[in-house]
């Protein structure tokens, strides 16, 4: 109730305040999970955004067409739910009248919210979503991360090479677009290699805590490794439970593993496992290192991949606004100009590496394989480029 009141007051304030500000500020909305299943992701994204905002506004604003404009970021919690992400997007578009949206991060929210942004003709960049549907046939939606049709084969190739694996098993979250999509891509990539079959293909729900039945089925099929494209909080339960059930082989993960919280929640049991992700903080050079050092100094922890990708998404957005070359006080016209500006970007140098963009608005960039070391840190193993 109190939240509602604050919201009402805020929107009234915003209603009166906007006309005065509109001339010299550019409003960008963030649709991020600050509560729910993956609150770390929302926090990391917000941290990166605040840092970027301080940089731009500290330098007097963003220069577009010879005039400086201040940036204003509005953070909206999507509770890590698909329906809330759509609502958050609508609120940002209709009430806050933002000219562009960054987020949601997970495909589970980015796929539906991408549809909302596209229908309402608002440019959106998802930092972390890897499911192809997010941007497919949506001219207003862009992203900063690579796609699952690339990530799936990367995992399959690495496992075949590193573990000498012939058979694989998959455990995925059936209520999560990201997990389902990646599991399917991986399955066809593995079968296409012709080394052996996917011997078990099991699923669970998002709120599940006990995985023993699925794991018993998987272990009975004797796979050479288990691929778990799930969020880190579930991974932290799955791996110890599999060990309790007597499984001794390796696990492979995907980019949803890439948060320090995985190690905190899972403990030693997750050490020694591998996952594919967007970048590795350890051993970074150049602009990436500068970003990591600044972030670490400011927030006391290394930025995870979603923080780095949010940084790059804002970078892309700024590039798009610069390409637009003008700021229109009419949000509709401004949105169109930003979209065209974003579509005009052909390549981009970010802290997560360089990428080229195809006609769907998807970047083509490298993936890295990271190992969780015995000390529980993420160590660079190898880089795989398309």
């Amino acid at each position: 109730m109190k939240k509602l009141k604050i919201l009402v007051v805020l929107s009234i304030v915003a209603l009166f305040a906007t006309p005065a500000l509109a001339a010299d500020t550019i409003k960008i909305g963030f649709n991020i999970p600050m509560t729910g299943d993956i609150p770390e992701v929302g926090e990391g994204s917000k941290n990166a955004a605040e840092m970027y905002l301080a940089d731009i506004n500290g330098a007097g604003g963003l220069e577009v067409g010879g005039k400086k404009y201040m940036l204003e970021f509005i953070y909206m919690d999507n509770e890590s739910k698909a329906d809330s992400a759509v609502n958050a997007a609508l609120k940002l578009i209709e009430q806050e009248e933002v000219v562009a949206i960054i987020g949601p991060n997970s495909s589970k929210q980015a796929v539906p919210a991408g549809g909302t942004a596209n229908e309402n003709r608002v440019p959106m960049i998802s930092p972390w979503s890897t499911n192809p549907s997010t941007t497919l046939d949506r001219p207003w939606v862009f992203r900063a991360a690579f796609l699952d049709p690339f990530q799936g084969p990367v995992v399959a190739d690495f496992a075949a090479k590193k573990f000498g694996a012939k058979t694989a098993a998959v455990l995925f979250d059936v209520a999560n677009d990201y997990s389902v999509g990646l599991a399917e891509v991986f399955k066809s990539a593995w079968e296409a290699k012709g080394l052996g079959p996917v011997v078990a293909y099991e699923s669970n729900g998002t709120k599940d805590q006990d995985f023993s039945a699925q794991l018993t089925t998987i272990i009975a099929a004797k796979p050479d490794f288990i691929f778990v494209p799930e969020n880190y909080n579930q991974v932290a339960l799955i791996i110890p439970q599999a060990r309790d059930l007597g499984y001794k082989g390796p696990f492979m993960g995907s980019d949803a593993w890439g948060t320090p919280d995985l190690v905190r929640l899972c403990g030693e049991k997750c050490n020694g496992q591998y996952f594919s992700t967007h970048y590795a903080a350890a051993g970074a050079k150049g602009a990436t290192k500068v970003f990591i050092d600044r972030y670490t100094a400011k927030y006391g922890a290394e930025p995870a991949d979603y923080a780095a990708l949010t940084w790059d998404s804002i970078g892309l957005m700024v590039e798009g606004i610069k390409n637009a070359g003008m700021v229109d006080s009419n949000p509709r016209k401004m949105r169109k100009a930003i979209r065209d500006g974003l579509a005009a970007i052909k390549s981009f140098e970010g802290v997560t590496g360089s990428s080229k963009f195809n006609e769907q608005g998807d970047p083509i960039k490298c993936a890295v394989i990271v190992k969780i070391s015995d000390e529980g840190t993420f160590v660079f193993e190898e880089s795989v480029c398309p």
Partner: protein, 303 residues
């Protein structure tokens, strides 16, 4: 064969949690005819209480060994969680009962009390998950192709002991007799000199205390805690209690294990995607054939 035995053990462990929580639902329902929808969240509070006790006792200030800490944590968690349950009864349910509110309003109050517990936890501790420290040294036993951990055995044994204890309390003691009497006729009972409020407090102490125990064991088995961890398992345990025949101790126990076995059994035979669909269809069929549950007695007024 190993595969089946392993899954039976999995089902026993998972069913134990349903049974422990379902017992609390059924106990309160049996006495007050109140579906205490906050029970799943009391279970969550129990898990958090045990977390804070554990980190405090094995932390640098006290520095106990985990095993010693565990022995202290069990009764302390149960006591503190039952205090939460009693407080809830005192501030939320009793005033309504005094004013003679219809049972429906008390049930809605219970739903809200559960949400208050969830969101106050979210507000106080934030959305980030907590990692429960390891209290007992985990041992994995291999018996042929079957693996078993000491924790699994402990959970199953605890569920059975709690059931036997509650069954004894309700059917063999004076307090139990008073509980059954209140459920039978709550207007005539005070006239017989039975202190109704005290008996209700005892009921909440028992129900919440064992929810606290379930929370502790759950946190040890699945060591990732979040504010909404009690919601889904609470609902499912409630369904288990209804299928078993709500109000009946034996029914809650059997219903909890039944749900555990159906869930694991479905995953064993069919693709795991169908688990909840099949599990709840089976339970629906059971209720369709026996609406009062397996051990329930038909009544004309139920919510």
């Amino acid at each position: 064969m190993d595969f089946i035995i392993q899954n039976v053990l999995n089902a026993l462990q998972w069913g134990s949690f349903y049974a422990l929580i379902a017992l609390g639902y059924t106990l309160v329902y049996g006495v007050l005819r109140l579906i205490n929808f906050a029970h799943g969240d009391i279970f969550m509070v129990g898990a958090y209480i045990s977390f804070f006790l554990a980190t405090f006792l094995i932390g640098p200030i006290i520095g106990l060994s985990p095993a010693v800490a565990f022995v202290i944590i069990v009764p302390l968690t149960m006591a503190l969680t039952s205090l939460v349950g009693v407080t809830l009864e005192r501030i939320a349910y009793r005033p309504l009962r005094r004013k003679g509110a219809h049972r429906l309003y008390v049930v809605i109050t219970a739903l809200m009390a559960g949400l208050v517990l969830e969101y106050s936890n979210l507000a106080l501790l934030g959305a980030s998950r907590l990692k429960f420290p390891a209290l007992i040294e985990k041992q994995i036993w291999h018996l042929g192709g079957v693996t078993l951990t000491n924790l699994k055995v402990m959970v199953i044994v605890a569920a059975i002991l709690v059931f036997l204890f509650l069954q004894w309390v309700v059917t063999r003691t004076r307090v139990g007799m008073a509980m059954r009497a209140i459920s039978y006729d709550k207007f005539a009972i005070p006239l017989m000199g039975i202190p109704v409020d005290q008996i209700i407090v005892v009921t909440f102490v028992l129900g919440s205390g064992f929810a606290g125990l379930a929370g502790l064991l759950f946190a040890m088995s699945y060591p990732v805690l979040e504010p909404f961890m009690g919601m889904l398992i609470g609902w499912k345990a409630f369904i288990a209690a209804v299928v078993g025949g709500i109000g009946d101790i034996k029914g809650a126990f059997v219903g909890g294990f039944l749900l555990g076995f159906i869930e694991v059994g479905v995953v064993m035979v069919f693709p795991s995607t169908y688990r909840d669909l099949f599990a709840f269809t089976i339970l629906l069929l059971i209720l369709w054939m026996k609406p009062s549950g397996l051990f329930g007695i038909p009544q004309s007024t139920k919510i």
